[in-house]
């Protein structure tokens, strides 16, 4: 731990400098200045997030006498690069030399740092402005301190590459030399903070800043949740009910205790649904090492009462929700009169689509270590939600939040799984059972796949009415899928506004009679967020159906897509009848409208880059899809090849993304490259199925993830250039939704076979 790190941890919440000077390192700022919308260039939803957003340099920046600048990262790193990108923005505005910047990870403390949930593709979009303000405020304080020292007007000095320069006299002072004086100055009020001219950016928008953990990752030094090491630490694995809501009836603790190294067998109580993020319950085996715990669990021989979900059968459920989608559902958008237009249409085209449950399968399964001593709890955990984890731990242990510390490790993948802290609560329960000794809970891959929070399962049906010229005059889309709300509240059978807003009611098509309905569906397992969430089923149905309409009218799919999008305009679903509480990803519609000009642009761009319409060999096909999600516009063209045995390969993927201002283009590219691989994994293999309430898949052989030899060798990413005045939007998730429909449209172009049910599996077999 660096000295600067120690200082940050010692700074009190009220922000007094007392005690800090003694350590020889200084924290800039005097009083907390909240980020204010009026000082920002545009409004975002950041302040409406739980605990809002902060920008005061006091919280984020410290400068040691040797000039080393330490910046606090408040978002979890799960591969998107936010732990690098946010501090990089501060450093740029601070005019710091990145080689003299260190990044430290904030523990979960939302009262201090504001919202820390790393989810919703929000980190960059909610923080580019506050982090710029933070860095700029610190820079101005350093400049003011230097001007005072030299007795010159602050306007005559300038911060430049880690030092402040007085051009007239040629005098210079390093940041380390100025930190003490700067820290005694008030933080400039938000309306007096002068942001850099974007032309002067050193790092922002360049894509030349490697992730801060790059060396540690490549040398095995990086620490993930499962890597915590504490003196006297015990290792635990848990036998959980194989059916959601089940309970243990009996088990053989003595057999487990006979395994050398096993120290204790502990029952964990489950919580009746809706159980939010509470553990599933079960029987834990605590041992001196992981292997002994695993062997001990094998000896437990538990029997279970499966409870009400013991009959859950995903094949039967598929038939049920498909049937529901054939009947009218709750109307959630209703422009014009789709029923009447369908009845009078010259031609009606209908199709049904199915997307199964899937699991995140993060490379690092959930893992956490908890220690309880002297009435205080410490956790080391790979969590996307350290603030919420702290809150839940405090409740679970009956402690005050200030007595709970959540150390955020690196996350070996997140994708939404690690937004739920059930595994950390397990570790807390077990540490308590061991009188506070540190206990690490390890989930095996089987545990991860069989006790997950699953992506929803969905049946989608679209009926379109065409006039005599083949123009679409009516569109009726019915979506039927269990809701994530089911883990929070009882009797939830309809998609929530935040789910409906992900590609259903916000469909940006220029169709006068447009109706969206949502049928009832009960959840029989834990449903949770999965990267891009309900955009996956909605986007798959809508973008597959567009190509089906093209086929029905013998037209080019891209031309039909652009015709449906219609002329450049703002589509505002709030003005459509029956749309309730329209969800714009929690951000103001005025800042992030649905702009069909931008949607069209990514379609045109990707088509141009992929050379849409080019002559292809036999059995090759191109497919296109576009989807706006997380306020970002993404269009994808996939080239698919299906050989005479039905073997699918994807030689090339092109993706165009308009995410507003691109703060870190290199990490945007990596996210989109990765989205193509994950998109293909889900499309080809991604299915979690249930029989008698039990998950049928258990490891990487039965729940397959794409491997290097199956992966598209080339994903070219085309980023729409935007100035900093174009609000930055999400990146982590939006690459995923258009992939599967683009792939299935390409397969159709190559073979004439339309895939309406995912995963593709063996549907292409000759």
């Amino acid at each position: 731990m660096t000295l600067a790190h120690a200082v940050i941890e010692n700074v009190s919440r009220r922000g007094f400098l007392k005690g800090v000077l003694a350590t020889g390192s200084l924290v800039i700022a005097a009083k907390l200045v909240p980020a204010r919308a009026e000082a920002a260039g545009y409004a975002t939803g950041a302040e409406k997030m739980p605990h809002g957003v902060r920008s005061d340099p006091h919280l984020f920046v410290s400068i040691a006498p040797d000039g080393i600048v330490t910046i606090v990262a408040i978002r979890s790193e799960m591969g998107t690069g936010s732990r690098t990108s946010l501090p990089m923005i501060v450093a740029d505005e601070l005019e710091a030399d990145w080689s003299r910047v260190r990044v430290v990870q904030a523990p979960g403390d939302e009262e201090k740092y504001g919202n820390q949930d790393t989810d919703g593709s929000r980190s960059l979009r909610h923080h580019i402005q506050p982090m710029r303000q933070c860095g700029a405020a610190a820079r101005q304080m350093l400049e003011t301190a230097a001007a005072k020292r030299w007795g010159v007007d602050p306007g005559e000095v300038r911060a430049q590459n880690h030092e402040v320069v007085h051009k007239a006299s040629g005098r210079k002072l390093g940041y380390g030399e100025l930190a003490a004086d700067a820290s005694a100055l008030p933080t400039p009020p938000a309306d007096q903070i002068k942001l850099k001219d974007p032309a002067a950016f050193r790092y922002i928008g360049k894509g030349t800043t490697p992730i801060v953990d790059l060396f540690d990752i490549t040398t095995g030094r990086a620490t993930y949740g499962v890597d915590a090491k504490l003196p006297g630490m015990k290792y635990a694995v848990v036998a959980r009910p194989p059916v959601f809501g089940g309970k243990v009836v009996s088990f053989d603790a003595s057999a487990a205790m006979k395994v050398p190294g096993v120290e204790k067998v502990v029952t964990i109580e489950g919580t009746p649904a809706p159980a939010k993020f509470q553990p599933l319950g079960g029987v834990a085996v605590i041992a001196r090492n992981t292997w002994a715990a695993i062997k001990g669990r094998e000896a437990l021989n538990p029997t279970w009462d499966d409870g009400p979900n013991g009959s859950y059968d995903s094949a039967a459920f598929k038939a049920q929700i498909e049937e529901t989608a054939r009947r009218p559902g709750k109307v959630v958008r209703n422009d014009g009169d789709a029923e009447k237009a369908l009845a009078s249409a010259a031609k009606v085209v209908s199709a049904e689509y199915y997307i199964p449950h899937s699991a995140h399968a993060t490379m690092e399964p959930p893992s956490a270590t908890v220690r309880i001593a002297d009435g205080k709890c410490e956790a080391w955990a790979c969590v996307q939600s350290p603030g919420n984890t702290r809150e839940e731990l405090a409740k679970k242990l009956g402690l005050k939040e200030e007595d709970v510390t959540v150390h955020v490790t690196l996350l070996g993948g997140g994708f939404g799984r690690k937004s739920k802290c059930d595994f950390v609560l397990e570790a807390a329960v077990l540490s308590k059972a061991m009188n506070g000794a540190p206990v690490k809970v390890i989930w095996t891959r089987e545990d991860d796949l069989q006790n997950a929070y699953y992506h929803t399962v969905s049946a989608e049906r679209i009926d379109a009415g065409l006039d005599a010229n083949g123009k679409v005059i009516a569109w009726r889309h019915r979506s039927v899928a269990p809701t994530i709300l089911s883990i929070f509240k009882p009797d939830q059978t309809h998609e929530a506004p935040f789910e409906l807003g992900m590609g259903l009611v916000d469909v940006p098509f220029d169709i006068p009679n447009l109706r969206c309905e949502n049928g009832e569906a009960e959840a029989h397992t834990r449903i949770g967020w999965f990267r891009s969430v309900y955009n996956i089923p909605h986007g798959f149905a809508v973008q597959s159906f567009v190509a089906e309409l093209a086929k029905a009218t013998e037209r080019d799919p891209k031309a039909v897509l652009l015709e449906l999008i219609g002329p450049p305009r703002i589509v505002d679903p709030r003005k459509s009848p029956e749309v309730a509480d329209f969800w714009n990803y929690g951000d103001p519609f005025e800042t992030y409208p649905i702009d069909t000009a931008r949607l069209r642009r990514v379609v045109e761009l990707v088509a141009e880059k992929a050379d849409w319409g080019r002559k292809l060999p036999a059995r090759h096909g191109l497919g296109i899809a576009v989807h706006r999600s997380f306020l970002t516009y993404v269009a994808t063209v996939v080239e698919a090849v299906v050989d005479d045995k039905g073997h699918l390969t994807v030689p090339r993927v092109d993706t165009a993304i308009d995410c507003g201002f691109a703060a870190n283009p290199e990490r945007i590219r990596s996210q989109i490259e990765g989205a193509a691989v994950m998109g293909m994994s889900l499309a080809l293999y991604g299915e979690i199925s249930f029989k008698k309430g039990r998950v049928e898949q258990s490891n990487d052989d039965s729940y397959r993830v794409l491997r290097i030899d199956e992966s598209p060798p080339v994903t070219d990413v085309h980023i729409v250039p935007n100035g900093i005045d174009v609000p930055s939007s999400g990146v982590g998730e939006p690459g995923l939704p258009p992939f599967a429909p683009a792939l299935c449209n390409a397969i159709f172009a190559a073979t004439g076979k339309r895939i309406r049910r995912l995963p593709i599996g063996d549907q292409l077999a000759a």
């Binding site: 953990d213 490549t218 095995g220 997140g414 490259e673 794409l706």
Partner: protein
């Protein structure tokens, strides 16, 4: 009692000889660079070198490596500057990074036996290593770069 070399140091272990090398390295020696991913040799996250050859530590019992020499990611290069590690950094391969130790160990083993692998040979050698973030395109490019010294 099992005796073995780990990153050049002699170690002895008198615990359960059937314990997978993975858990021995992680829990007993504190070498956490080697990762658990599946436990059944399907994902490659636990790849180490045994006498210079790539092996999955999750299905290798400690007793299997008695008298043999194990190299983990921590011991691949004293300064972390093996050509594969350098190439990984030059091309910004990792996203979450969790699988990368296994990928790097597998790639390093490949380049020991094949100085200039073709794309097919890379695919074949690396197909046992899963990356859920989907860094494959860059992994291939980094192996080529490491091979050519680019």
């Amino acid at each position: 009692m099992v005796k073995l070399q780990v990153n050049g140091q002699t170690q002895s272990f008198d615990g359960d000889p059937s314990m997978p090398l993975l858990w021995y390295l992680r829990d007993e020696l504190g070498l956490t660079g080697t990762k658990y991913g599946c436990g059944v040799a399907l994902c490659g996250a636990c790849t180490v070198h045994v006498d210079g050859e790539a092996a999955r530590a999750c299905i290798t019992a400690v007793s299997d490596v008695s008298g043999r020499s194990v190299t983990t990611i921590e011991g691949l290069d004293t300064n972390g500057n093996h050509p594969v590690q350098r190439a990984w950094r030059a091309l910004n391969v990792p996203q979450c990074g969790y699988c990368q130790a296994g990928q790097i160990m597998q790639a390093a083993a490949l380049l020991t036996t094949n100085k200039n692998p073709s794309e097919d040979e890379i695919n074949s050698a690396m197909s046992g290593n899963i990356c859920r973030c989907g860094c494959y395109q860059r992994i291939t490019a980094a192996i080529k770069a490491a091979a050519t010294g680019a």
